[in-house]
Symmetry: C2
Subunit: 200 residues, 2 copies
């Protein structure tokens, strides 16, 4: 997986500037103004002042513009899981990665909110987001398997962590980003553990 120029980079605390970001911003504006279906790639590139050739160097199609950040999250989380200290449990390795990936989400909250409004209005994008999350979980499970975790535990830790990430993200966004991501993620993880323990 490569991180394109629009990747969100927690270490830098902002979306990198450049063609990828300009295309993303232009696309989200147009999707919100006139709908996802009605928006074409030439319209996006015209708004961004770039060529369609540049567009297709960054994104496979107009749906992918919405998911550049998700691809980055996958690369970041998988790499963190792979490099977690050996003594860390599978679940804790996943939890630390998801906790860290959102540390600077706050600085991009306006883009996240625009993006969410686009997804909420478009069934096709909702399905694609679920698919992307499934791919992330599967990639994390693969990274855990490299750490000699059983396939069962790897799958569960990856799926549980990704579920808590999704729920935390929804709550963070609807709370208008007022919550501190790392604390909110840990709180949701603890709450999930408490709810789960209710059946044991």
């Amino acid at each position: 997986m490569t991180c394109s120029a629009n990747s969100y980079t927690p270490g830098m605390g902002r979306w990198q500037s450049g063609a990828g970001e300009r295309l993303e911003r232009a696309a989200l504006e147009l999707f919100l103004e006139q709908g996802f279906d009605a928006t074409t790639v030439p319209q996006i590139t015209a708004r961004a002042g770039l060529t369609t050739r540049t567009f297709f160097r960054h994104y496979a199609d107009k749906r992918e513009v919405v998911f550049g950040g998700v691809d980055f999250i996958q690369a970041f989380v998988v790499s963190k899981v792979a490099s977690a200290p050996a003594f860390v449990t599978p679940m804790e390795a996943v939890a630390r990665a998801y906790q860290e990936v959102g540390a600077n989400f706050q600085e991009n909250i306006e883009v996240f909110r625009q993006r969410q409004r686009v997804i909420d209005a478009t069934l096709e994008l909702q399905a694609r987001e679920l698919g992307k999350l499934a791919v992330i979980a599967s990639a994390i499970a693969g990274a855990l398997r490299e750490r000699d975790v059983t396939v069962e535990s790897a799958t569960l830790a990856a799926e549980l962590g990704t579920l808590v990430f999704r729920i935390t993200f929804e709550r963070w966004l609807t709370g208008h980003g007022l919550h501190d991501w790392p604390s909110l993620f840990r709180e949701q993880l603890n709450e999930a553990g408490a709810v789960m323990a209710g059946s044991l």
Copy 2:
């Protein structure tokens, strides 16, 4: 939600016979023989010896033929959660429902396996299945909210239970149905709790 004639009925221990089931079997055969994209509704109805009019009384489109059982699972699980005794925790209410819904899966394992081969070969159906599971989780959360569970706990119990259902189903199917569903579901739930506890 209505349960169409092809709904899987655990109480009866078999898929009900009738037009819905004939259409489902014909569709799965054709999807496996010639692919999902290449199969048309008239081909399905010709194979089943029924009219397209009958088809559209049972299913909105050819994708839906694959998900008749999922719609039934949703209706069953939501109704079980809604009628669980008041003293039962949210997670346990969800767990009991998912444990019970699969009690007779074994009798339909060949249809489940055919169906899984079709889904595994078709990205569009994989996305739709994830969407269906998200809808089930949301419906369960709604049923829990009616029991005066907080929205946070309702969401977590519904999502966690649905995740364990999905993982159990995969393991059950790849284990060729040799596992007893209720035991396997409970085992996966306990394992999920143990994995989760690794981060607390």
